[in-house]
């Protein structure tokens, strides 16, 4: 029987000397939702994610992933999750196909590289090296690599940072489709429109703590009902809309 809660984080903390990088962070992630962790740089988003991903030791608090305690059985957890790391790369001189096969081996799985590449719309790059990909293609490839073990939970750390508007929108489409195929996704971002577009629920993080946690629309409603008014009159379009209208939505990657 599948429980509704896939990830349960309780009072998770990490200290570096005097700095509380992550301080008593708690949240739940439900099956098949996209959960966003929002916050400025240095808020502790990546540290939180890396503790859940078993890449960093947990000082205190607990993380239960699909019923498994991360600090007790990290190897089991690694088999259940797919991870896209911020600014991590892949081996040079292996083609995308070879990389996916190798990553499959790391999970003792025979994977179908073409199917995975199709998933992230990179089929035509199957025999390219990662170095030959554009920024958006690299991010999409690292999502494909995170899917080799058919994970229960997919972690994406700032997947669209540094991408142009077209590539970002394209990646949003890929992420939404992966969710619609039954995956649960946790992502971090510092783009508000991204959180609003993608996430069912967001946790806003600052200085190592979570200061709000709700669906985006609910957070906006709360703010407005508290009497908030924008300084400027709401416009019907912004500069990004102008940009996309002029340059089109299609990808420019080559």
């Amino acid at each position: 029987m599948l429980s509704d809660i896939v990830l349960e984080v309780g009072n998770l903390s990490k200290r570096y000397n005097d700095l509380h990088a992550v301080h008593k962070v708690s949240f739940d992630v439900k099956r098949q939702e996209i959960f966003g962790i929002l916050g400025p740089n240095g808020a502790g988003k990546t540290t939180t994610l890396e503790m859940i991903e078993t890449l960093r030791s947990i000082d205190s608090g607990r993380v239960i992933l699909d019923g498994i305690d991360v600090s007790k059985e990290p190897q089991k957890v690694k088999r259940l999750i797919g991870v896209q790391l911020q600014s991590s790369s892949f081996f040079d001189k292996l083609t995308l196909t070879e990389l996916l096969l190798l990553f499959g081996e790391l999970y003792s799985r025979q994977v179908d590289p073409i199917k995975l590449l199709q998933e992230v719309e990179l089929k035509e790059k199957a025999s390219s090296y990662v170095a030959e990909l554009s920024g958006g293609q690299k991010q999409r490839f690292s999502i494909a690599a995170a899917l080799v073990n058919d994970p229960v939970l997919l972690f994406l750390d700032e997947p669209t940072t540094g991408l142009d508007p077209q590539a970002r929108r394209h990646l949003w489409g890929v992420i939404k489709r992966i969710r619609s195929e039954g995956k649960t996704i946790v992502l971090t971002t510092h783009y508000m429109e991204e959180a609003e577009e993608l996430c069912d629920r967001v946790a806003i993080m600052d200085r190592g703590t979570i200061i709000a946690n709700a669906p985006p629309q609910q957070l906006i409603n709360t703010l407005v009902s508290n009497g908030f008014k924008k300084d400027r009159v709401e416009r019907l379009a912004n500069l990004e809309d102008v940009f996309l209208n002029l340059t089109g939505h299609s990808l420019r990657e080559e």
Partner: protein
């Protein structure tokens, strides 16, 4: 096991698709041998002649000495024959006890089979000197006849000395630099971190890396020796398996040093000076290019114990003397001690992040 195998295959692919790596590990050492093959350190055109004088005659010896084209050495039969087989003489003249100019005794000479042209020139010169002495001494028409016997020998050239040295050096360079730079880059670019997010056992990854490097090392040895024999007239005397055993043992030492360095440095900028500090003194003082016999005594005290000294000496003994593993037991022992020390240091210093 399957994973280690798959990872080794993958890293072999990565290695051989990197043109720079092939350039550094295989082509550059060969190019160095090629360059040095133009430099002749082998006795500039003087013909070295040995004389074993069993008679009381002195006229022949002094006449030979006056021939400018010949450099004459005098010694016992044993020492001169040894020098001949070592390639240090082209011809050895043996004067019988009854010899005197004008006698009709035959004069035996031993010819270096590897230098027939120089040897025959020397034999002609010897015959002429004898003829002149004979005609000066008497009007007899009999003269001592020179007979020539061919003796097999090995004539070591500078290439014979150099090639095993450069081979050892390239094993050191690709071990230390290859691993240290490779791992620092894997760390810096987040590739190791990404791997650690998978269920891969870190030990498997290290084993695959070491296996890959050792396979490359075997290729290095085979290609260098093969090219040496075919293109540079290398007089390879030894057993190639013995050479691989010493090479792999040396490879383990330098791979471990590479791993230790990658743990001590955070970026490529830190690796380079550290790796150079370790490898440069060995490159210059471990007898890669020149014999260590020219080093002053105090330098021996230190350089005798360099891992590259053990490796180069061992590989050279096998290559040019045909030494067995027992013969180079001292070098193997030295390398084994270094292997234990450096693997220990590598385990202590190596960091995944």
């Amino acid at each position: 096991m399957r994973l280690t195998w798959k990872m080794s295959i993958a890293s072999m692919k990565m290695f051989f698709r990197q043109k720079e790596a092939i350039l550094w590990t295989i082509l550059l050492p060969l190019f160095m041998v090629f360059l040095f093959s133009f430099v002749s350190f082998d006795g500039f055109n003087t013909i070295s002649l040995g004389v074993v004088n069993r008679s009381n005659d002195t006229a022949f010896v002094s006449a030979i000495k006056s021939v400018k084209a010949l450099k004459m050495y005098e010694g016992t039969y044993e020492t001169e024959l040894h020098a001949l087989t070592e390639g240090d003489r082209v011809l050895v003249v043996v004067l019988p006890p009854t010899f005197h100019p004008g006698s009709s005794d035959t004069v035996r000479t031993l010819l270096n089979a590897r230098k027939p042209q120089e040897g025959n020139v020397a034999a002609l010169l010897v015959q002429r000197v004898l003829d002149e002495l004979t005609f000066q001494q008497s009007v007899q028409l009999t003269r001592p006849e020179v007979i020539v016997e061919t003796v097999n020998s090995r004539n070591l050239t500078y290439i014979d000395f150099l090639l095993p040295g450069i081979l050892s050096m390239s094993i050191m360079q690709s071990g230390v630099f290859g691993v240290a730079f490779g791992f620092v880059l894997l760390k810096k670019r987040g590739i190791l971190r990404r791997l650690l997010a998978t269920p891969m056992k870190p030990g498997d990854f290290i084993v695959a890396q070491v296996a890959t490097r050792l396979i490359v090392l075997i290729a290095q040895v085979l290609i260098m020796i093969g090219a040496g024999i075919f293109f540079f007239d290398l007089h390879f005397q030894g057993n190639i398996l013995n050479l691989l055993v010493v090479g792999i043992l040396g490879g383990i030492v330098f791979l471990a040093i590479g791993f230790a360095l990658s743990g001590l440095s955070k970026s490529e900028d830190q690796v380079a000076p550290l790796a150079n500090i370790i490898t440069l003194p060995m490159m210059l003082l471990s007898g890669v290019f020149f014999s260590r016999s020219n080093l002053p005594g105090f330098a021996h005290v230190i350089t005798d114990f360099f891992p590259l000294t053990y490796l180069a000496d061992g590989m050279r003994s096998i290559t040019i003397e045909g030494a067995s593993l027992v013969d180079i037991g001292g070098d193997l022992l030295g390398l084994t001690v270094w292997a234990i020390v450096s693997v220990f240091l590598a385990v202590k210093a190596f960091r995944w992040e």
